[in-house]
């Protein structure tokens, strides 16, 4: 218990300091001539590679890093407090808090990175702490498998990230964000001219860097690890796999945004496409899952798809930059309501001891606080005014509409799906069938309900923050215009999704089965996540293992090792042969000695006579 309290108190201090920093930055020090500038707190040269290329460690403050500081420290504090109740009495309580603090440290380091290599270092650290926390219940084989999967998939993506960094730094000679993202910067001019297979080298490196972001943010086709990562403790899912770490990919793209927007618009188009496709794809799967944490995981993937899309359709500065603001806005509100959803789910699991929706129903009578906060989160993510999600989602839709209307219609449809699957979850858990419970579910303890209430306030009210004043692509304040026609369309479809979910799940009925039967093939495919796990298993097990790895292993074992063994064996044989001479038998030595003398004597006799 002590470790938890120490961790929570320290994090409380960090949170207070973050808020103080934000206050200072946004209202006192940050603004010069109406534009927010980047402040480098300190920058220590850590490792010198060449004359000009060195890896620094430092603190960079600009609107998005300050915003992320607030999000990370707030959510992390809530999760620390919540875990005091949730993890009470678990084995490895100390280990849990150690890992949680390691994660928070790494995430804060990532957020304030002054250069892309520092970001990469902390990027790997959050990956490592995520691995440790997913595999927290290391006695469960599924948790171990999930942690390995998460680590391998994100490592694979990070390989792209590293290659991207190396290409970029090779051509520009710097890792520093300030030099790279300077919109009038000279460092990128030369590299943008060099082309390779139809795209400039810069675009290639930015696509590779995005690959790292896509792996961390579970974008299609690297999304497969996130649903499995739900094997970890639920507060961890809330912190790492919903609110903070998985949006690191979005943050990375936002951090490099001037480079994307000005020098590599092709890669931005790819980001937009990947984001839109992922959000649709994951939303469809979320509609069919029955494990409540998996539903939330797919919902997370879908919402991050929104953020990526918003970045993808944005441009640099002014009205075109509204997508950037919208993305960051959605990141903040999403952190609030998705952390709330996960913590709510944790409180449900804590009470019911099951992850399956089938084991739940009518829980609102037993757990009123969880039910109400969960409802607020659902309304928020579905985009019902005046909750936070409505404002950020509306801005994303508006940005998509002004840039590429096709994406607007896709995301509009996804908004409906979002409302549908969230309320399917809400009605299925808190309303629906009367379930007889073996142990009567109780409302969670105070340490768990307080974070729920705090986050519920955030999820309800965060939408009223004039976000454009603080965060924009070029640092100038940007007034988000409110689009009534788009807003009314999105409210309409959100209500339609809500109504459909209510019709199907509010009371127990046979309607869901009938609807599922109506879309039989499609439903089964979506239920099995469109067979992506199977596809990857097929590729890795059947193709990579059998056709590449096994022949290579054979070659290594029989040819390379065989050659070495041959040398060793020959030397051994030689040694055995030589060994016979040294028998340890004195008489043998004496015999050799005497025969030698006799032979010498004979030679001397023959020569001299």
């Amino acid at each position: 218990m002590v470790s938890g309290i120490i961790g929570t108190l320290v994090l409380g201090t960090i949170t207070v300091l973050s808020y103080f920093t934000a206050w200072q930055y946004f209202f006192t020090d940050g603004k010069v001539d109406g534009a927010y500038r980047a402040i480098t707190g300190f920058n220590h040269v850590w490792l010198t590679l060449t004359e000009s290329l060195h890896i620094d460690l430092g603190v960079l403050l600009d609107p998005i890093s300050v915003m992320m500081l607030l999000v990370v420290s707030t959510i992390s504090l809530m999760v620390h407090i919540y875990s005091l109740g949730y993890m009470k009495g678990e084995d490895g309580f100390y280990r849990y808090y150690a890992f949680l603090s390691l994660f928070t440290f790494s995430m804060l380091g990532l957020v304030v990175a002054t250069n892309i290599f520092q970001m990469y270092i902390f990027w790997e650290l959050v990956g490592a702490s995520s691995y440790l926390l997913i595999g927290f219940y290391y006695k469960k084989p599924s948790a171990v498998a999930a942690s390995k999967k998460a680590f391998i998939v994100t490592r694979f993506a990070d390989l792209g990230f590293l290659i991207g960094i190396l290409i970029l730094s090779f051509f520009t000679g710097t890792f520093d964000f300030a030099a790279l993202t300077n919109p009038s910067g000279q460092v990128l001019g030369s590299i943008a001219g060099t082309s390779f297979i139809g795209l400039s080298v810069l675009s290639w490196s930015m696509i590779l860097i995005f690959m790292g972001g896509a792996g961390k943010s579970a974008m299609f086709p690297l999304h497969i690890w996130l649903p499995d990562a739900m094997e970890g403790p639920t507060p961890v899912s809330a912190l790492i796999h919903a609110a903070t770490m998985v949006v690191a990919g979005v943050y990375l793209v936002a951090r490099m945004f001037p480079v994307y927007a000005i020098w590599a618009p092709e890669s931005l188009a790819i980001i937009a496409f990947v984001g839109a496709f992922t959000s649709l794809f994951a939303a469809v799967i979320a509609c069919t899952q029955t494990d409540i944490k998996r539903i939330l995981a797919y919902s997370t993937i879908s919402q991050i798809g929104y953020m990526m899309l918003a970045l993808g359709v944005a441009g640099y500065g002014g009205e075109a930059g509204s997508g950037f603001t919208a993305s960051m806005f959605h990141l903040t509100t999403h952190a609030m309501f998705k952390a709330l959803l996960f913590l709510g789910a944790g409180s449900i699991i804590h009470a019911v001891h099951s992850n399956e929706m089938g084991d739940m129903g009518s829980l609102r009578k037993y757990m009123p606080v969880t039910a109400i906060t969960f409802l607020i989160a659902c309304l928020s993510i579905s985009g019902i005014p005046p909750f936070a999600g409505f404002f950020s989602k509306d801005e994303i839709l508006a940005a998509a509409y002004t840039s590429q209307p096709i994406y607007f219609w896709v995301e509009w449809f996804v908004a409906g799906l979002t409302a549908f699957y969230m309320f399917r979850l809400y009605f299925g858990v808190f309303w629906g069938k009367k379930t007889e419970y073996k142990h009567k579910p109780k409302e969670a303890p105070l340490s768990m309900t307080i974070p729920l209430i705090v986050l519920a306030i955030g999820a309800a009210a965060a939408g009223f923050i004039p976000f454009g004043d603080f965060v924009s692509s070029d640092g100038l304040a940007h007034e988000a215009s409110f689009h009534w026609n788009i807003a009314s369309l999105s409210i309409l479809i959100a209500l339609a999704g809500l109504a459909l979910a209510a019709w199907l799940y509010l009371r127990e009925s046979s309607r869901p089965e009938k609807v599922a039967a109506g879309f039989k093939g499609f439903y089964t495919a979506a239920y099995h996540k469109f067979y992506f796990d199977e596809l990857y298993l097929f590729i890795t097990k059947k193709i990579v293992f059998e056709l590449i790895s096994q022949p290579l292993a054979w070659f290594d074992r029989h040819i390379v090792d065989g050659f070495m063994n041959l040398i060793g064996r020959m030397i051994y044989r030689f040694a055995v042969a030589v060994k016979r001479f040294q028998s340890g038998q004195m008489q043998q030595y004496a015999f050799v000695f005497v025969s030698g003398v006799v032979v010498l004597a004979l030679i001397i006799l023959i020569w001299w006579t």
């Binding site: 060994k579 028998s583 340890g584 038998q585 004195m586 008489q587 004496a590």
Partner: protein, 105 residues
Amino acid sequence: MISNIPALHFLIVGSLMFFIGVYGFLTRKNIIAMLLSAELMINAVAFNFAILNRYVFPVHLEGYFFSLFIIAVAAADAAVAIAIIINIYRNFDTIEVEEVDDMKY
């Protein structure tokens, strides 16, 4: 009277003693027998010293002194060898030289 016997005869006896000693040292497996053979070789050498002194430098005495030294050394070395053999017997219950190979390799 001894002067009637030519030196060659004595040398033949000395050589025979020496090579019997060599043969015994190489073929006996019993350590005591090997010690005896070694003593035989030593005595052959001492014998040769005495004979050669008598025939080559009759006025000098160095050869006789060497013989005496060799006898003294041989006595000391027999004592040391017997002590070693007794210890070997205590440790191995045998004095067969081929059985005593614990330190090999």
